[in-house]
Symmetry: C2
């Protein structure tokens, strides 16, 4: 007997962009891909309105492709910041300016469908476990590197939330007690070295201090236009100073990963985000750092890989999180 | 209907001492407590012989107290070093000089009882969760501080083993990428600052460099007799330099715990080992360091406590691990 396939809409809310897609419960495809810049200025109302429009458009596109009678069972949402998945509330998102925002129920009411909420980094890593580079992993440690560094632990296909739902903040593990000041108030956090803006800042600091590099030419001498992407591009073009910056980034990330290997003994570490475009320039020294610093029995079973669901990991993961929260497993 | 209580013998193998006790399955008491110095020179045969004698003595004492007809169902063993609990083999214990030692089956054969094996730090922390200071914890992070620093994660009452059984090496999380060289080959490991020998070594280094302290008087000027216990004692007596050394120890441990709070979001962090005798001198600056460095939602739900099963946590935990491995839960 054939059961009809059920569909779930995944919503990935970022500080920069919203991404939405309609995914069958087996995760075999993504229909009705939609994206637009997040209307931060519009506040919660603006963003809920955008989500309503994008979900409607995504479903319309999916229905025109799959037939108008597909069964749509709900909406999985991933949002930045600490959230309470039991109440569906976003506690605080500095980038969006929200406080105690009942996001899940507002989206559910706007669209007349059940909804679930989880943290965006949790969703991205669960997405990589479900359909991406971390498939088959029993103990998955994941990092999402962007404006900040988020992360998640996925154990046997379930997000590990910790005692109060805030586990997985790998970006705020300190690797140098008297290191760089982090936005979170701590010192030496991985994020203070290896987030996108931190990579750009370190590169600019070196150039201002006299490092020789072609990097300024990429931005017509306007150093404040340098981003992690510019640094990666210059490194890929062979700029030696930018290669040093990428290597230093890799060493910091590798040290943090070595700590995770010793503590959590993962079989897969997956790294998501634009910085992975640096490829071997980043991954070779990162893996070497892990080999040098972590215990051999842990290193032997651990693969360190870039994420493979560029731009859609959060959508797939929001769908997977909906399945887990609604049906108990993904 | 009353079920008869079943008894399990717990064996805690340390590089210095063996400890054995007979425990009813509900963990309500410990009968026939036995301990003796580990016969390291006697090799595997010597230690297996000692275990045979101690288990026999413990059971005889328990039977004389409880009646000769008590039902004894097995032996739980905790041993240092990476072990394979599926095969019951100790891979390597530098302190005991064992390699690929089939400890579980040798003990089982010697005593004619089923046996299980787990890592000693895992057992100690599981023991604290079962009957000690970590009771009721959902996400327990534990550190055992002695000659080395071990650790364990206990999730919902089960030891978290990781992908290949070697999770929980908190002692080898680096908190300073260019810090003190650790025996494991890495730099800046917590163990390089805060193990018993490291605390003593740091104290001696300072005195050799001219720090003013009464510490040398505790050892008649023989600095190589200084141990962590001597440093704790002098700190308790008000020696300011030794208080600094303990505070530095607390800061390193606190930084490592702050990282764990951000990553694993535990509700209980339990610290076991002789160094906890320093009490508030250690725990106050440690807790302050965690408050300063970790995220508030994680700090708010996390209690940091000393272990309460001094000398017997490993025995209780070996029994709990036997129950978990044999019956699926403790």
């Amino acid at each position: 007997m054939d059961f009809p396939v059920r569909y779930i809409v995944g919503v990935d809310i970022g500080g920069t962009n919203l991404v939405v897609g309609t995914v069958p419960e087996d995760g075999s495809a993504l229909f009705g891909y939609q994206t637009m810049p997040t209307d931060v200025a519009g506040g919660p109302d603006g963003v809920v309105g955008q989500i309503e429009r994008l979900v409607t458009d995504s479903l319309a596109e999916a229905r025109s492709e799959l037939g108008s009678d597909i069964e749509v069972v709900g909406i999985g949402i991933g949002a930045p910041g600490p959230i309470d998945r039991h109440t569906g509330t976003v506690f605080l998102t500095p980038n969006l300016g929200w406080t105690d925002m009942p996001l899940r129920d507002r989206v559910s009411a706007a669209l007349g469908l059940p909804a679930t909420l989880d943290n965006d980094a949790n969703c991205a890593i669960l997405g990589e476990w479900w359909r991406g580079a971390a498939q088959g992993g029993k103990v998955v440690v994941g990092l999402t590197i962007g404006t900040g560094i988020g992360g998640a632990v996925v154990l046997d296909g379930k997000i590990f939330h910790g005692a109060s739902g805030v586990a997985g903040e790998f970006g705020h593990a300190s690797i140098d007690q008297s290191g760089r000041k982090c936005n979170c108030g701590n010192y030496g956090c991985v994020e203070a070295y290896s987030s996108g803006p931190a990579i750009a800042r370190r590169a600019v600091e070196g150039i201002e201090a006299g490092a020789e590099s072609a990097l300024p030419q990429y931005v017509d001498g306007e150093l404040d236009r340098i981003t992690a992407k510019t640094v990666s591009q210059a490194a890929a073009d062979g700029d030696k100073y930018c290669l040093e910056v990428i290597t230093e980034t890799a060493h910091v990330l590798g040290l943090a990963i070595a700590n995770m290997v010793n503590i959590l003994n993962p079989d897969i570490v997956v790294i998501c985000g634009g910085v992975t475009a640096a490829g071997d320039h980043l991954f070779d020294p990162m893996r070497n750092q892990v080999r040098r610093r972590a215990f051999r029995p842990g290193v032997a079973v651990c693969r360190i890989v870039p994420g493979s669901l560029t731009g859609t990991a959060g959508v797939y993961g929001a769908v997977a999180s909906f399945k887990e929260q609604t049906w108990g497993s993904c």
